[in-house]
Symmetry: C2
Subunit: 168 residues, 2 copies
Amino acid sequence: MSFSMYSASVPVFKQILTSLSSILQKAEAHCTERKIDPAALLQARLYPDMFPMLRQVLIACDFAKGAAARLAGVEVPKYEDNEVSFADLQARIAKTIAFIESVPRADIEESAGRTITLTSGGTTREFVGQAYLVHYALAHFYFHATTAYDLLRHNGVEIGKKDFIGSF
Amino acid sequence: MSFSMYSASVPVFKQILTSLSSILQKAEAHCTERKIDPAALLQARLYPDMFPMLRQVLIACDFAKGAAARLAGVEVPKYEDNEVSFADLQARIAKTIAFIESVPRADIEESAGRTITLTSGGTTREFVGQAYLVHYALAHFYFHATTAYDLLRHNGVEIGKKDFIGSF
């Protein structure tokens, strides 16, 4: 039985983005119950030169949409990054999940050997589809999604690893 | 071109464990340079009821060895969890990488449809190999590896995402 590029990408991104959505709901409820300014969590950082929690969620979304689009060979949609509230983050996650689920499954299935070209900071890198997904896109995605979780946990939101892993 | 269960598992675990090893070297050097008690980083937590940094590394190692063994259908080696120092963590990571690289590649390649049975906390769960790897083992592995990174970053060790992603 061979392994499917689609199974290793879209449903995994959806699993963790759905978890992030639930975790952010708990974080928002935590603010409401304790009369905490939502910005205290949205703008929380683990260190002054790290991105705040809100931005960690945006970047996690971007790795999901970027991976699904690049693997399928379709244009990566641009989002404006103008989110400021918990409601905005929920909308961003929902939009991201809707996009990755809209990408034709067959195009991703065939992407293991596709050449993926990434340009970032003036340098261009080429990957084979399979290596791009497992060594690059998923690693970056989990890095930011976990850091968003860690930031909320560090600030006292009552969540646990089960909330992060979610269901699948 | 189909996707390989081996490529999605052992080399990915090795990539991130190798990164963790480098990050821990930087953390140890940080302690030495600043005359910081290594326990300040090894036992650092993001919240009182979260595992400390040292334990996050052990658990990341365990998800790597557990996944490689279970996918291949070989016994999961037991480690004693008696690590207390940076040197111990380096040895644990090295031992884990040596183990996952010793697992026969062909046995992992054939594991996409293998039934994986996990018993934890008195409950038993069954997975198909592919779902076990992408939805469960990698998610837990990245969760703990990223949290170890976040703990060190939060405590001022000069590391960045590049150190976490590493090379592949």
